[in-house]
Subunit: 676 residues, 2 copies
């Protein structure tokens, strides 16, 4: 089934494409990669530890990337077509599970590059295989290209007074490998460095962008490539890059592999430098400041990785290990149905997507620049439901990390930075659906693992040491945050917004320099209420009660009494919320969406536009609010009718999700599901 | 005298160049323009009101700009060489005073573009003159190009969740002109719009970047230009641009002028829209949302400007007006010496540069991205000295604006945003030399104008209405801010830094995510003291006293008594500072630079590196501290000796600046200076 983007290859669990992107890495070192090898790498945090540069919304589109320039006589081409865009005789990009393989061929030379991040390694491996498909000897020149980001992706494009003056590198040339090191600010106050190595000697290198690219040149015509040789530049300030220049001879039919390693390492403060022996045996070392540089990086960690991946066998082994992990991850949940598209989505791509959201949580993509936001509080909790069966241990840690950013009143930072694990002050909080998602995620985790011990974990407020309380207490406070923030109709105040980040019912900003997405400028006396949060509250509230009751079964004495109190009051609050929705949240045929700042209805038949919203139908429906009066079914019927009449869409209603969920007490639920 | 950049043409007061940049506009509408027409426009504030896009530190370098594509058969070229970089038969760029003229010729067609911002107009005029130098008829195609910035230059490159969905335009086609309007967020909460018009009908247009440029194309090969015709695209979201497509016929020797106007206008809230008449007579109007757009911009203001500059005569008149202004500005200060380079610098370029710094104050250049900072408190005060004789009225307002951002304790925001005129919280304050610069600037203003009334102006603290006190009181508090922030040696605490922003003696940040330029993380019990501030304090303190004494002459009774008190205590403080410098700030041969956080000397012969700094020699010397012991002269001798021995530079000492300045009471000083 080919689309404008490409087609699925189920046998290899790959998507063969012409225009799409993929994610490399599933631990701490990540890469975003497009089908032309565009994209960038970062360690943990796309904002604070950006390793290579990428230019969002640039012309040309999708620039920069991990480029290889192949020169044969006057022809220059790239395996991924970009940036030279020389017409290729063959082109294919295969995006697999945390790996991408790009193959291009020109004039009977094939170049195939496998990109992936080995498990437990802070580096991206780029295995380039060059094959001579002709009957003659081939004399080629190969140039690699990577552009370093000065660590903080936000200031990298802003503070040139600093950026253009601080760049520093080291180049290490030897018999077994050639490594280019990026160490900007390493001398001063950083304990981390990046490197780009290849497993062979080279004919030259470049580390200064202008020397390699040329003053006015585009990346499609770098000066060094046009010259046919590198400039052997040592960057000091301006824009540091990493490029290897390698001359390649290929006999008819011959294949050669080049293993490039683009990595990141951190050193302890007391072992940062290596002054005693500036050079390792038989290796020449060059630095930005030449002889005046008494601060040579201690490279022990990088050398370990470079040496480990010096052979094709080692790369194959690491790649096999990555594939084995995915065999294991995908083996935990499997559906066999007559619908191959359903099977494909459920058994491979949806689970893969869930792992990606676990790692990134919308913080970085080809749509999110990676500097505007961190990991979402709400997002991370709901994404968790998708991967908890794959990696329960990591899901557990994620829940603790998220809860640790919560405020003592139950409010939440809307986002947090994965590097520091601290709440993101730039965005702040006040999105009133956030607290409920912690209950949602935690119960999903326990439902999957049966691990009630997580509730006893001691978790701080706002990362403040000494403020720790049990996770269970975080859940109780989260529940109460809604109870303590009710509006005039007894419905939850929406705060800055709810699940729909852009439903800013309290924002009447006329200051165009404020972000209308994240401003709630009418905080005083706001009446804006959200039916979506009401549904979410009842849905999660009932799970919260079920959780308490389950614990209570094995509890005694004072603890049991305390639990019974909480259960009683929680039930009271949930019932009250149901009444409020039935009385003020029901529009006659469907659930309202909200009341705005002035108390006007949103999502009512009375409205000229936006008569019905899906969020409140879904959540109030799943919460079974007004079930006795058949409200959930009525709302779905109305939605189907509306969509049918307005958009001519025949909707088949799906009630399966009204079936009771796996009970909380039951450990390791049977996952085999059949559907014909 | 040609350099690698170009040469001066004194007759025309132009710099003829191959690689340099210029500034257009000297009021509210500005443009930065390079010799290849690269750069961008903004209204008042390079961060909050960016009108067109520019990509700093991009590949290709210096992109985007105000580009004209000229197509003749298969040849595509630009008058400014970029972005096509087609080899030109002729090329010249003349940067004049607030205008730039770029001329290119190819295959006997000459294209000359004059770029300038007329006085009192919020628009950049681009007068393109096409001349047929051949004996045959020429059939050309002309494409213009401008890329809109979504108003806030900081978020424009960051928040794509919003940016890619909000772009909106209008296109107005008629007999006399064709105008493309950028109105993103105008419907919602902005009262301003931008436009790009040409004074003729067109054969087509584009407002969507991808439609014009193509998916993967570079600006050197836009798809529409390659196709030979526009795509007539209407942007809705993604990246809105403005491009006119014009077919041009030129008889042998014929010349044609095209006047492009790139402008910005604001409407009152109650007159934003023009729903009654969607179209003006004989004009076709197209919008992003087509017929569904009931929010057509009220274009009265833009139409006035477009109509006004519909003729070459009108453009010539406006250009003459701009040149006349500069004749007048430069007539106020003139030096005749035997050194033509001195004459050139003093009479033209230094004064021009001062006007630029008045307008920009380092907030935007090809080095400052325009988003990282606003107008400098210190910078604006010291720049003022350079232009106060040219535009005393504007200098007066600038002083009031700057003082209005000051804190009640005399501390200052280090920068403020020109659009809001409010202090920049991102940078904050604590640079302890800042307050003295307000005294420096104000006395310079009075010395030039004799306008003592400025001292009675009521000026708020931190822009807080109701907090107003007289400017004189601001000066007194500024003076006291140093007095109230003395260190263990009785020298001024440096705070976060002084004139040397990077001298962060209190910053020991090991958090690489902090900016080492603007972090003073050791605030508790800091001892770091600055000799530069000490010198600045004495220098400005004496001027402050002179100012008070001058006022006192015409004062009586209580006011006079009060003044005498302030004078007495000021003199005491200044004398004490001199003593402190002589005792703890003198290294034996020169003035120390500072004491760091730990009380260690900086800028002493005891130091291994950085034995002597210029800032303290200059300011303590100009303040004549330790004159009795000949410290100023000794310091200069030592500096000369050191430079001579270390760098083999023979230094001629210049003592002229030790001559007494123009007395404060004396109005409109005689500016004629002779030097042989």
């Amino acid at each position: 089934m080919a689309t404008e983007y490409g087609y699925f290859d189920d046998a290899h669990r790959e998507y063969v494409i012409t225009n799409w992107i993929n994610y490399l890495g599933n631990e701490d070192f990540f890469g975003l990669i497009s089908n032309t090898a565009g994209g960038y790498n970062f360690y943990k945090d796309a904002k604070f530890r950006r390793i290579t540069r990428y230019r969002y919304n640039s012309v040309p589109m999708d620039s920069v990337g991990r480029y290889f320039y192949i020169v044969e006589n006057s022809t220059v081409w790239n395996p991924g077509w970009k940036p030279c865009k020389t017409a290729l005789d063959e082109y294919e990009c295969r995006h697999g599970l945390n790996y991408t393989r790009i193959t291009g061929a020109k004039n009977k030379v094939r170049a195939s590059v496998l990109y992936f991040v080995p498990l437990g390694v802070k580096a991206e491996i780029q295995r380039l295989t060059l094959t001579n498909l002709s009957n003659e000897m081939k004399h080629l020149k190969l140039f690699s290209y990577a552009e370093w980001c000065l660590w903080n992706a936000a200031t990298d494009g802003e503070n040139f007074q600093r950026n253009l003056s601080t760049g520093e590198v080291e180049v290490e040339q030897g018999a077994e490998w050639t490594a280019i090191y990026h160490k900007t600010e390493y001398k001063e106050r950083r304990n981390h460095y990046a490197y780009y190595a290849v497993n062979c000697p080279v004919q030259g290198y470049d580390t200064d962008r202008e020397s390699f690219v040329g003053l006015y040149n585009e990346l499609s015509e770098p000066q060094a490539v046009l010259n046919g040789h590198s400039a052997d530049s040592l960057a000091h300030g301006w824009s540091p890059i990493a490029s290897h220049y390698i001359e390649v001879e290929l006999a008819p039919g011959e294949s050669k592999d080049y293993i490039f390693v683009l990595g990141y390492e951190e050193n302890e403060e007391n072992e940062k430098f290596n002054n005693s022996k500036l050079k390792i045996k038989n290796y020449e070392l060059l630095t930005s400041l030449g002889e005046r540089d008494h601060h040579i990086i201690n490279k022990v960690r990088a050398h370990e990785v470079i040496k480990r991946f010096s052979s094709v066998e080692a790369v194959d082994a690491a790649f096999a290990e990555l594939n084995a992990l995915w065999d294991e991850l995908l083996s935990k949940y499997h559906v066999e149905s007559s619908d191959e598209r359903l099977n494909r989505m459920v058994n491979i791509w949806n689970q893969y997507q869930c792992m990606i959201t676990f790692c990134m949580s919308r913080s970085a993509s080809f749509f999110e620049s990676g500097v505007g936001r961190g990991m979402g509080f709400r997002d991370s909790n709901q994404d968790l439901v998708g991967f908890v069966h794959q990696i329960p241990e990591r899901a557990r840690q994620r829940i603790i990390d998220i809860a640790s950013t919560q405020f003592p009143d139950g409010g939440c930072y809307h986002q947090y930075q994965p590097l520091t694990k601290r709440g993101n002050n730039d965005i702040g909080g006040g999105f009133n659906d956030d607290p409920m998602w912690l209950i949602f995620g935690t119960t999903a985790y326990i439902r999957e693992t049966g691990d009630f011990s997580i509730l006893d974990e001691m978790v701080p407020w706002d990362n403040e040491p000494g403020s720790e309380v049990s996770l269970m207490e975080h859940l109780r406070i989260s529940f109460n945050h809604v109870v303590n923030n009710l509006g005039p109709h007894g419905l939850p105040l929406i705060g800055r917004a709810d699940w729909n980040d852009c439903l800013n019912l309290n924002c009447f900003s006329m200051d165009p320099n404020e972000s209308f997405q994240t401003t709630g400028n009418k905080t005083e006396g706001s009446q804006a209420e959200s039916l979506m949060i009401a549904g979410l509250f009842v849905y999660c509230g009932r799970q919260f009660v079920e959780l308490l009751e389950t614990i209570d079964r094995s509890a005694q004495g004072q603890k049991s009494a305390m639990l019974k109190d909480i259960i009683a009051s929680a039930n009271t609050q949930v019932d009250a919320m149901c009444k409020a929705v039935e009385q003020y949240g029901w529009d006659g045929e469907w659930y309202l969406r909200a009341y705005d700042y002035y108390g006007n209805k949103v999502g009512s038949h009375e409205n000229e536009e936006g008569k019905m919203f899906i969020e409140s139908q879904g959540w109030c429906g799943m919460a079974r609010i007004g079930a006795e009066q058949g409200m959930p079914e009525k709302a779905l019927d109305s939605a189907a009718r509306l969509l049918d009449s307005e958009h001519g869409m025949g909707i088949q209603r799906e009630r399966r999700y009204f079936l009771p969920q796996q009970p909380l007490g039951h450990h390791r639920p049977d996952r085999s599901r059949k559907r014909q």
